[in-house]
């Protein structure tokens, strides 16, 4: 187990390094902050001076190592070109909104996917099962942001039940959370269903039933616990999908989170902020994957022995 965790940890750190490198060089390639930030009438000397001040005249590798050193030691991604404050502070200010949105949509996903998936598996080919299959089919083809806009039009504009943008109250959270959740919901529903179906055909379930356990206990204690393993395993990867979805959802609903900050910063060429967000997102994704793998290995010994 220890060896497994250490191996995965080293790999995770490596992945983070590669991602920091790509995000650094990618934005280094073509974005020239001097052109972006100085007035167009700036003289050549001004530009040179500016580059010297910002350290932009040094070799790329030196700049990258410097970037990495600051990030690792001080969490310093440099100052935002536009807001003139440290990028990390800008991000810290936006983080709570994104976390709130992500948690709300996770709640929504699990509240729907778990019961529907289980019922679809127990009552195979029933109405509920067909609904689940149909939702999965439709959900895969639905562009997330279009779904969000349609929700706004129907529930915000036509029916007037829910607010359509902003983040002041819990009511504001409902439409964005559903939109974001709708991306992952069909996948989880399918996973729970197929996991349950597989587990229900196992011998130990027959044993549990044969010894006269009440069906509820068989389903929840014996079947569901085992069927949940694949859901745990993919949840790490889904965390990344959730963050990616947040970028889109926040844009649609004018939600003041990290995703919108990312979109705005990319558009404006504010690359310290973009780098910071990419690296932080990647860190989250990599460590969510790592945690999911370890949790899966803890609850399922077959994984760690492989």
């Amino acid at each position: 187990m220890k060896v497994y965790i250490i191996k995965r940890l080293i790999e995770a750190i490596g992945v983070c390094l590669v991602i920091s490198m790509i995000s650094f060089f990618l934005l280094f390639l073509n974005t020239d902050p001097a052109l972006l930030l100085l007035p167009p009438e700036a003289e050549m000397e001004d530009i040179a001076l500016f580059k010297k001040q910002m350290g932009l005249d040094r070799p790329v590798i030196v700049q990258y190592v410097d970037f990495l050193r600051k990030v690792v030691l001080h969490g310093d991604f440099g100052d935002s070109f536009l807001a003139k404050i440290p990028a990390i502070d800008l991000i810290a200010g936006r983080l709570p909104a994104t976390v709130k949105l992500a948690l709300a949509s996770l709640l929504f996903i699990n509240l729907v996917a778990l019961p529907v998936g289980v019922i679809a598996a127990i009552r195979r080919y029933s109405f509920m099962d067909n609904v689940a299959t149909f939702t999965a089919l439709v959900g895969q083809a639905m562009p997330l942001y279009w779904f969000g806009i349609m929700l706004i039009i129907v529930f915000g504009v036509w029916l007037g039940w829910l607010p359509i943008s902003g983040s002041d109250t819990l009511l504001h959270l409902i439409l964005p959370a559903i939109t974001l959740g709708s991306w992952i919901l069909p996948v989880n529903m399918r996973l729970v269903r197929s996991g349950m179906l597989e587990v229900l055909s196992q011998d130990y379930i027959r044993t549990a039933r044969a010894k006269g356990l009440p069906e509820k206990k068989v389903l929840i204690k014996h079947a569901f616990k085992n069927a949940a393993i694949p859901v745990v395993t993919v949840s790490g990867m889904q965390f990344g999908a959730l963050l990616g979805g947040a970028v889109v959802t926040e844009t649609v609903f004018a939600w003041p989170g990290l995703g919108r900050l990312a979109v705005d910063s990319i558009r404006m060429g504010d690359y310290p902020v973009v780098q910071a967000i990419v690296v932080i997102f990647a860190l989250c994704v990599v460590f969510a994957n790592l945690t999911a793998d370890i949790v899966a290995a803890v609850i399922d010994p077959r994984i760690r022995l492989n």
Partner: protein, 304 residues
């Protein structure tokens, strides 16, 4: 009549009248009604894309300020002249959506071709050589998957500039990992098979073994995967355009139309609804076709 009976019955016929693999596939698919629905949707999409200059009632770029923001025909104020209404510059929505199919298809298919070339290539190498090559390639896949796709693609487009070609590149270089994973596993399995052993003992070059012996066996799984990936690529392209880092106006693309329509969603809901519906229907059609193809060509994939 099942495909098997069909095969037996025709096996006595001379070579040239045997049903082709294609016709067998088509015959079996007929039984999969959803697949047929998918095929119909895709055919419609393809026909629209090819013939839109003839089919479209108007020039998609032609503005008519006097005639702006007209609702679709079934709403009050709509006319038969503009079945799906007009946008904020008075351009005909139906014509723009029809022309938008071209961008979606071109980007979707080209991006997936790029994904296949990178992904399958690396997957074959990783699966066949194993060891160090496998470690390096698997590490690349893991790194790629740790990257938030949308941020990477957006940054790429921002760096390269938003053109059709660059969007294809951005989608292609960020989304190949799924092909690598499938190809790698299948190649590993194939390497243990006797036909590969036979080819090796005949001293065929690695290149020949990979491309002429192993790759053809992977084609069914890859075709199914590629089909579904086209739908995803279409959605991803529309997303980039929606976020303003894709196809630039005035070129009609479903994503950028949706972005423009969003500004009018409070009053003129149809401006955002229709381009999105076009994306949704296309992706749905491709997915239905993909599911049917999977059932026909690759039964053991059905479980996943």
């Amino acid at each position: 009549m099942s495909v098997k009976e069909n095969l037996i019955e025709t096996s006595s016929l001379p070579e040239d009248v045997k049903p082709s693999t294609l016709s067998l596939v088509l015959r079996k698919m007929w039984h999969l009604r959803l697949g047929v629905v998918g095929a119909v949707l895709i055919t419609a999409l393809l026909l629209t894309a090819v013939f839109c200059p003839v089919l479209a009632p108007y020039d998609p770029y032609k503005q008519n300020i006097m005639n702006r923001l007209k609702p679709p025909v079934w709403l009050e104020g709509g006319t038969f002249k503009h079945l799906l209404g007009t946008d904020h510059l008075g351009r005909d929505n139906l014509s723009r959506i029809m022309f938008g199919s071209r961008i979606s298809l071109v980007v979707g298919v080209s991006a997936v071709i790029m994904q296949v070339i990178i992904g399958v290539g690396l997957g074959l190498l990783a699966g066949y050589y194993g060891g160090k090559a496998d470690s390096v390639i698997s590490f690349m896949v893991n790194s790629m998957m740790g990257f938030p796709f949308i941020l990477l693609a957006m940054s790429l487009v921002a760096v390269l500039g938003p053109s059709l070609q660059n969007i294809i590149i951005a989608l292609g270089v960020t989304q190949w990992t799924v092909f690598t994973r499938v190809t790698r596993i299948e190649t590993m399995k194939a390497r243990e098979q006797e036909y590969v052993l036979a080819a090796t003992s005949l001293a065929f070059s690695t290149r020949r073994i990979l491309l002429r012996h192993i790759l053809p066996n992977l084609v069914p799984s890859l075709v199914v995967l590629a089909t579904v990936e086209v739908a995803r690529a279409i959605i991803r392209e529309s997303l980039l355009s929606f976020l303003g880092l894709g196809i630039q106006p005035p070129t009609p693309s479903w994503g950028s139309m949706l972005a423009e329509g969003r500004d009018y969603m409070l009053m003129q809901w149809w401006l955002a609804a229709f381009p999105g519906a076009a994306i949704f229907i296309s992706a749905l059609g491709i997915n239905l076709l993909g599911d049917a193809l999977r059932d026909v060509m690759d039964p053991h994939l059905r479980k996943s």
